[in-house]
């Protein structure tokens, strides 16, 4: 008797565990399912809206967010966070825009990248060498970058600003009206990040430092070097995202990317990267950025006012993160 009742119970437990295991090992599957559900809902709510062109717009909007979320993913893997991406991205786009009419776009890009790398270097030294909490370090750095960008703005007030044509082509142009040019930047970046995280020693070091810093140190990892390089990479990626964003919106402003900081963290979290470090990956983050972009599109398609959109946005982030924690946590 007890044998017959126990068998189905054990069976159902096994299937639940199997599902859990599947979600834990392949977090992309439930995320892609959620993305598909959102797309289907949009198709039902606004028939005819979903199509190649809509997909192009979504991709174009999602690319800068996905790159910024990449900064968060990489830093979160080590147990950090990068709140300076907004300031660095805006600063980079703005600096190039002010230098277009004078020294030219290529020189502007070089100046912007050097400035971004310097900011990343200082952040990395603070986090890696002085062991300042990344939240505080990047927060302080974003104040510094924002302030300096404003000073720069006052210096360059005569020259005027203009988003270079190259950025507009890259940020908002499309092949055949569907495939965004920004994929030319995004696909190589994403490939490098994905491969680096999976196949290189540096990628493994990021996971190791985030998972257990003491164990990583005892096994010979020089955490400070890894972190300094990491925050420079993060700042450079933020700068590239700033270029794309300036091209996408055709705006050069010192606060352009500020509103992307919190969504970039949200995209990484939805994508399954743990903010405590050591767990996650960039694949999930990309889908997370797509989910957030499609969600924004859905909420505006539903015609809700901004207030309701924000409320739903926040609630869904909590819900997804909670589901994640429930599924992936042991026992």
């Amino acid at each position: 008797m007890s044998g017959t009742t126990a068998a189905p119970a054990a069976d159902s437990w096994r299937t639940a565990a199997a599902w859990r295991g599947l979600f834990r090992d392949r977090p992309l599957i439930p995320l892609l399912a959620l993305l598909a559900v959102l797309v289907v809902v949009i198709a039902l709510v606004r028939p005819g809206m979903v199509g190649p062109e809509w997909a192009g717009v979504i991709l174009r909007t999602a690319v800068p967010l996905a790159i910024l979320a990449g900064c968060q993913t990489l830093t979160m893997l080590t147990g950090g966070i990068d709140l300076s991406v907004g300031a660095v991205a805006s600063m980079s786009g703005f600096v190039v825009a002010t230098l277009v009419s004078g020294p030219g776009t290529p020189a502007g890009i070089v100046v912007a990248l050097v400035a971004a790398a310097l900011a990343g270097l200082v952040t990395g030294i603070g986090v890696g060498v002085f062991r300042v909490h990344p939240l505080i370090m990047t927060l302080g750095m974003s104040l510094v970058v924002l302030g300096l960008a404003n000073v720069w703005q006052l210096q360059m007030v005569q020259t005027g600003t203009g988003v270079p044509d190259e950025f507009r082509w890259l940020g908002s142009g499309t092949f055949l009206g569907i495939i965004p040019h920004s994929l030319l930047v995004f696909v190589p970046t994403a490939t490098v990040i994905l491969l680096a995280l999976r196949r290189t020693g540096y990628g493994r070091l990021l996971y190791a430092i985030g998972d257990n810093p003491i164990a990583a140190r005892l096994s010979g990892a020089r955490a400070w070097q890894v972190l300094v390089v990491l925050y420079v990479i993060s700042a450079l990626m933020a700068a590239v995202a700033g270029f794309l964003l300036a091209g996408l919106t055709n705006i050069a402003a010192v606060t352009l990317a500020d509103s992307f900081v919190l969504p970039s963290v949200a995209a990484a979290v939805i994508g399954g990267t743990s903010i405590m470090g050591g767990r996650g990956g960039y694949g999930g983050t990309i889908v997370g950025a797509l989910i957030l972009t499609v969600l924004t599109s859905l909420l505006s398609a539903l015609g809700y006012p901004e207030a309701v959109r924000q409320i739903l946005f926040g609630s869904i982030i909590v819900a997804v993160a909670a589901a994640y924690t429930r599924i992936t946590s042991e026992s």
Partner: protein, 334 residues
């Protein structure tokens, strides 16, 4: 339980030793106070006309951020962080302003009480979600900052509303002697009435305990979930007070969150509260808020670009925290 806390407190020894331990424990706050005095003297030197109006302006300008910082300090001490403080301030401020519009002063009192209860509820939702979902605090409160900001927009689409006269009078001007700004008195009274009893209570001790070592606290019989929710509720309460002070000083409610969330995190850290939790108090952070504001004022006096003041703020934040962690590293090595 209370008896054991009492004995721990009393077993410190002779008065001189007690003063020494007290000074050592609060060395960071004492250092900040010293710096503030130097800074005030410096302000007086570069701007000899700096006096009563300056002090009063400083006090009323500092009040909202100071209250927001106390809110942040409470939750950080308990081992969490609340990135929705700015949004909670916006929500409570618009609720207060929209309900007080065209009403009598007496009704205003009811509104104030209601808004404070609202703050407690908002905090309870934040804390409840953190405890129930087991999602990291930073993620939950980040997401909730969208929710509360959206709710604020639902209440008021554009800045508007009104604030009761007595509420506005509460934060403007001075009390008895002109040297004591009302805003400073309000701040001291609020902190003295809520924070000091809280810190001395069993709940306060539990908050420090779960902040410093959650597992150890759990094993010593602290109800971690309940304490955490209560900590978030106190944070919500102080955020509501900050929101009220915001609409009292501006006279309207603004549905868009100000820069208070991140500034409060910065001030908390400058004030000597460890982001890892379990260490620090609220007085250090309040002094840090005043210092940051005074640095900004001094920069205006020195005709420095206000943007450079932002840069300076960033460098002060980074520099002070770096110095702090260097001291900590040396102490550990020694």
């Amino acid at each position: 339980m209370t008896a054991t806390i009492g004995t721990v407190d009393r077993s410190r020894g002779r008065p001189a030793e007690m003063v020494m331990t007290w000074a050592l424990r609060n060395s960071w706050t004492i250092g900040l106070l010293g710096f503030l005095v130097v800074l005030l003297a410096f302000t007086k030197i570069i701007q000899p006309s700096y006096g009563l109006p300056g002090i009063q302006g400083l006090a009323s300008a500092v009040l909202p951020l100071a209250l927001a910082t106390v809110a942040q300090a409470i939750v950080v001490i308990s081992g969490g962080i609340d990135l929705s403080i700015g949004s909670m301030m916006a929500l409570t401020s618009v609720v207060a302003a929209s309900q007080m519009e065209g009403q009598s002063g007496g009704f205003g009192i009811a509104v104030v009480v209601g808004v404070l209860v609202l703050g407690l509820v908002l905090g309870a939702v934040n804390g409840g979600l953190v405890v129930v979902t087991r999602v990291p605090d930073i993620v939950v409160t980040l997401a909730m900052s969208f929710v509360w900001a959206g709710c604020a927009l639902l209440v008021l689409k554009t800045p508007g509303g009104d604030s009761a006269d007595w509420l506005r009078q509460l934060v403007l001007g001075s009390l008895l002697v002109p040297w004591i700004p009302k805003a400073a008195v309000i701040l001291v009274v609020i902190v003295a009435v809520i924070w000091i009893p809280l810190r001395r209570s069993r709940l306060g001790l539990s908050m420090y305990a779960i902040g410093s070592n959650q597992l150890a606290a759990f094993r010593s019989g602290v109800s971690v979930g309940r304490t955490k929710i209560l900590a978030y509720m106190f944070t919500g309460l102080f955020a509501a007070l900050a929101g009220l002070s915001l609409s009292a000083s501006t006279g309207v409610g603004t549905p868009v969150p100000g820069p208070y969330t991140l500034q409060s995190v910065a001030a908390v850290v400058l004030g000597g509260v460890s982001l890892a939790g379990g260490r620090g108090g609220v007085f250090g952070p309040i002094v840090a808020v005043v210092i940051l504001r005074l640095v900004r004022t001094d920069m205006t006096f020195l005709n420095v670009d206000t943007n450079l003041a932002t840069v300076a703020e960033g460098f002060i934040l980074i520099g002070v925290v770096m110095a702090g962690s260097l001291i900590e590293m040396r102490r550990r090595r020694a």
